[in-house]
Amino acid sequence: MIELQQVGKRFGTRMAVDDLTLHVSRGEIFGLLGHNGAGKSTAIGMMLGQVWPTCGKVRIGGFDVTAQRQQALQNVGAIFETPVFYDYLSGWRNLEILSHYTARTPAARLREVIDWVGLTGRERSLVKTYSHGMRARLALAQALLPQPQLLILDEPSDGLDPEGIHEMRQTILRLHRELGLTILLSSHFLSEVEQLCSRIAVLKNGRKVFEGSLSGARQTRAWVRLRTDDFAAAMTELRQGGLVVDEWDGQCIVLAAGVGADEVVRRLVAAGRPVYEIAPEAQTLERFYLGLMKQEREKPDRSSAKVD
């Protein structure tokens, strides 16, 4: 559905996106992760033909976005962070205006989508009277109006309260389940990505540092939870013995290849350190993401990892 082949975008001397290759298959929910300025929005801009790539090819539904933008975007809906509308017009008028840029939209379709997002009864009110949550629903409605097959969501939960975030998450799942949409989601909320996406890509400084399935990301490192009287001293001891390769948050460690938990316990007990608990720890996306960022910072070269 979405294909990026060695795409790059340069703004002046800065490379905002560098050699990005991505593939999003039909029907999947794909997460695009990265810190602010990592290049997520630029990549999305290039997918929508708003930002022209400096090099590489961007294809949506088989159409080249640069050369065949109209065909490529025919079945695409998009939502951006902080939805913006013509505040001085009604929600209905806004939907009419935006949908007509794609195709003539009958009033019945407008009513159907307004009902679907739960704005019935408020569609004739001016958008300036809408709450942030209602604007988010209106943004969703405008994205759904052209009956898209692909939905691109750039930070859709930004600025929403916890209830709104939950509602947005449920809506995305419902869209995927009921309408079978392919969804590309860019988000800062790692728990949101974890609950929604089947595959992810992580960007750092414009480069892809990871692409793969969420389960693959979780299995990249076997974390072990360790409770002892002095974690720092225990780490020094274990590092001296070459038993661990990483540590996390004063409570988790990554064992060196071929090292078992029994060896760790023996070493610590021999050094006079008590071991209160040692157990396998499930890798969360947050831990994976932060670990990846740390790893990338320490890396001299910036090659990307790939796990399927």
């Binding site: 929508l48 708003q50 022209w52 695409v76 913006v84």
Partner: protein, 279 residues
């Protein structure tokens, strides 16, 4: 589809309060001018002396048409460029600044088509604004002055006298020609608006261009170079009050303004096409 999209552009343009700022200021300015002209004797006496000094009966020409035309000059020179540049500068740059342009350009509409729709809505605005300027001016003038002949006097440039019917025709023609001036200034602001600038910057750039051209044109030593300045051609509406109308000069200015407008549109469209639209 084009008709629907054009209607939507008009909804967006005429739904905004600031679009009506020009109309409101014209109303205020026209009423102030009329009241000053009606109730203070100085300007009227000066006009009557000019008429009578040239052998005309002042009461035949101290009419609604004369007062409406008399008001048209300062408003066309000062306020009209300001308000069309304000709207023209907003057309693209304001949408880019607000973020709505990004929403639009996530749709399968070509940038050229979008610009064309916006430019046409700007033309529609120019026409409506100028018709309001001419129409309301005449309406308010008629409330205080009788219907009669038209007298137009611009020192060193124009001294024309028309009977009521002929004057009315010249007035209507001048108002329509004024719409071309408005559309050209709007097109200039629109061109700047297509670049990656703030709406205010687009408006200021367009006004600066017009004022610099006007200043250059007004320098006596540059008299021979006048046909090279945009403002010289923008004033073609005044020629509709000349006796006789210099049709060759009208044709020259009209064709040059057409060229200017197309250039503004092409430059704007090219700049808009190559730029990146970001949040």
């Amino acid at each position: 589809m084009f008709r629907l999209q054009f209607r939507n552009e008009l909804w967006k343009l005429f739904g905004k309060k600031r679009t009506y700022m020009g109309f409101l200021m014209f109303l205020l300015a026209q009423n102030v001018i009329i009241l000053v002209f009606r109730f203070s004797s100085g300007p009227r006496i000066s006009m009557m002396r000019t008429l009578e000094g040239n052998g005309y009966l002042a009461q035949d020409f101290l009419s609604a048409l004369t007062v409406a035309t008399f008001m048209l000059f300062p408003l066309a020179y000062l306020l009209l460029p300001l308000y069309v540049a304000l709207v023209g500068g907003d057309l693209v740059a304001k949408e880019a600044e607000d973020g709505t342009l990004r929403m639009i350009l996530s749709r399968p509409i070509s940038r050229t088509r979008l610009l064309l729709l916006k430019w046409l809505s700007g033309l529609a605005f120019s026409l409506v604004l100028v018709l309001a300027l001419g129409g309301l001016g005449l309406l308010f003038a008629r409330l205080w002055f009788p219907w009669g002949g038209l007298f137009v006097f611009v020192p060193g440039e124009l001294f024309s006298i028309f009977a009521a019917v002929g004057g009315w025709h010249h007035y209507v023609a001048a108002v329509f020609m004024l719409a071309i001036k408005a559309a050209t200034i709007l097109g200039l602001a629109f061109m700047f608006s297509c670049f990656n600038v703030k709406p205010a910057a687009a408006t200021i750039l367009a006004l600066s261009f017009v004022f610099v051209s006007f200043i250059l044109q007004s320098i006596p030593y540059f008299k021979d170079l006048q046909p090279w300045f945009l403002t010289y051609h923008l004033n073609l509406w005044q020629l509709m009050f000349a006796q006789p109308i210099p049709w060759w000069r009208m044709g020259e200015s009209l064709s040059l303004l057409l060229g200017f407008n197309l250039t503004f549109l092409v430059v704007g469209a090219t700049a808009f096409h190559v730029r990146d639209i970001k949040s």
